[in-house]
Symmetry: C2
């Protein structure tokens, strides 16, 4: 945790990945993030993967360091509490993260009527409000048709919810940007971040919209890197490594380690191209190049190749399972200073990650685990809404909070 | 484009996706983003996909709306110009986005010696400075081993550079957060955003680190959604649709449209589970459920199913190619207000996307295309560094700028 957002209070009424991860990013940069949920938990409260006791590892991963208040959102008095939290006065508040529908009791209009400078950041499925999740949007933009071996026509869904993760980071960026404007001008904002628009804009930014308009769809090509040199190869001892060479230096370094400069030079001479100068030529002529690399990897053990790659500045990676990485890879997990061991609401103790960013020369403050549902109900009602003990007791008696 | 970051100047010395997309997000929210490159272009200047004239659709996608200055970075005088730009005084400046190495002439220490409150946001491969790209990190965290049909053991790389895209949005969030702190306290920051840490932290946030520690690796399962109900199915007329049911409402809506409530009820009775109440049971017993759904889809045409899904609030998607989407899908591309038609440096005119976020009730300002390399060299030298015409002319004469 770092202190970049110290003094900021964010109210989160959201579920699943994109909204809660935006809140998580802000919490891990120092904001006080108050998540409200229905009593008994929202629609993501039992989402897999699960701990042995049945609680959700997903929920406790995405809600680390937040405060939790549980409210009966089915009754007008409960809804009023949620609106009061989101719109509580004061310079430190007035930021609301949500994936609730555009219309309804948490609409921007309703909130703005209570707090003129409210900033609402709303993660959505389709921009028109229709339901969508990461995987349905991904199918619609053609990624599964481009993924997987060229010899198999079946579409391959990604397993990493990339659009959700992007949505979380982008929503956090949008919230921080809107805060910069509000602090300068006093003006709030209603910001909508649909997964459909994240996908459409990203494919525009990557040049792929222009690509299909000028050249049609990109074919499936398995693990071959588009537009330069990259693929997985198997070593003599059966390990699978990926190498990627985009810049001239990466390319010449790779050839040197694999002792392929001469053989590749002969192909260059025959084809009249320079692979060092033209990364695209490496892609165009990859069918001529790959057999040389397959043979070179097949002659060498990973044990010998890896230090040579490192010494030669080669960009490479090892295929390993997540379990292998989590239990054995010091750079990613076992010695990564991002991780701190915490005891979580599931009762399990395991390492959890702080922010992806490292602020050099600033201490990583202690992480706190996800809350139990309703763990901060009384504290939030007292501190944010200014209710006294009697009023809080009555809300409990009426079953409006838990 | 919106005005959330109006009055901010960001200097970008970066290449490829993560760094330049962070600058793009900031430019599209109103910041003046000045990208400097080597004369003749940086390592991403010819990156595929290419336009018919050989210029990069990728470069012009990722640099929309930025200003470009070309500098001879091989000579000390050129390097001094880059440092002077990044550290130019004034409240509006002092934010530097980069993927240059931690050490060297653009190190945070070197910049801080010139401007005490500089904010440096550095996208990296591995956190220790070793080279990595999206695809090598992805192999190391086990995603390719989880991706693809269960009947094929080959690892499947993702084709969407998810870690790069996440890195761009997260770096933009980190920069905006650091600005909020600087405006409150006057303190700058050195922020490092390694792809390796983005991957490790994301898999922690999603609960997957805890999952493998408690239960081992998640097996490959093709397009089956983990932990709830979701998969692709083929309709009578041969169209492939994905449906996802996570919440009870999504599930009961899906059963109703497919007329499966009774058949599924019989399975529930036989197994002693409630699929409506327990999304995980739908996953555990998917082998019993899938044949019913396959048969139900195979009896119906997409033309009839789609409006029924929409009326029933079902979360579904259509597998289409990116070309189909770009040329025919109004919600994603052909009628999406994010897109404006621009004439780009390649000479091509095609629609390009503004920010993924929509600020309701605020006008989307006109987009500007990517610059030609060096298009703003003189303007930047005059406005940011205060050089007069004579000094700028001498820099050109010495070949230090172009």
């Amino acid at each position: 945790m770092y202190d970049l957002l110290n003094g900021l209070r964010v109210v989160e009424g959201a579920a699943f990945i994109a909204g809660p991860s935006a809140g998580l990013h802000m919490a891990q940069m120092g904001a006080e993030v108050i998540r409200f949920d229905a009593i008994g938990g929202g629609p993501d409260y039992r989402r897999w993967p699960l701990a042995p006791d049945g609680s959700s590892l997903y929920w406790e991963g995405l809600n680390k360091g937040k405060k939790s208040i549980a409210i009966d959102l089915g009754r007008p008095e409960g809804r009023e509490l949620a609106v009061a939290l989101a719109t509580a006065p004061g310079d430190q508040g007035g930021v609301f993260l949500t994936n609730y529908p555009v219309k309804g009791f948490l609409s921007h209009e309703a909130l703005k009527a209570r707090r003129e400078d409210i900033i609402t950041v709303r993660v959505m499925g389709w921009a028109d409000g229709s339901p969508a999740v990461d995987y349905t949007i991904n199918a619609a933009v053609g990624v599964p048709q481009m993924t997987g071996p060229a010899d198999d026509p079946r579409p391959v869904n990604h397993v990493l919810p990339a659009w959700d993760l992007l949505g979380g980071a982008y929503a956090a960026f949008a919230a921080a940007s809107a805060l910069l404007r509000r602090r300068a001008s006093g003006v709030g904002a209603e910001i909508r971040v649909p997964l459909s628009d994240l996908a459409a804009s990203s494919l525009s930014h990557l040049g792929q919209v222009a690509e299909v308009l000028t050249g049609g769809d990109r074919p499936r090509m398995g693990n071959d890197l588009f537009g330069a040199f990259g693929r997985d190869f198997v070593t003599a001892d059966g390990q699978r490594l990926i190498v990627v060479a985009i810049t001239p230096r990466q390319w010449t370094g790779l050839l040197k380690v694999l002792d392929l400069s001469e053989a590749v030079g002969a192909i260059e001479a025959a084809l009249g191209v320079s692979f060092a100068r033209d990364e695209g030529a490496r892609f165009t002529h990859r069918a001529a190049l790959f057999p040389l690399f397959e043979a070179a990897f097949a002659k060498r053990d990973a044990e010998a190749l890896i230090p040579a790659f490192d010494a030669g500045g080669v960009t490479w990676g090892q295929y390993q399972s997540l379990h292998q990485a989590v239990t054995h890879d010091p750079r990613l997990f076992t010695a990564n200073p991002l991780f701190q061991s915490l005891t979580h609401p599931s009762g399990l103790t395991y390492p959890a990650s702080g922010p992806a960013a490292t602020l050099a020369d600033e201490a990583r403050m202690a992480l706190t685990p996800a809350p139990r549902l309703g763990q901060h109900t009384d504290e939030v009602l007292a501190q944010v809404l200014g209710l006294d003990g009697g009023a809080i007791g009555r809300l409990h008696d009426e079953g409006l909070v838990a």
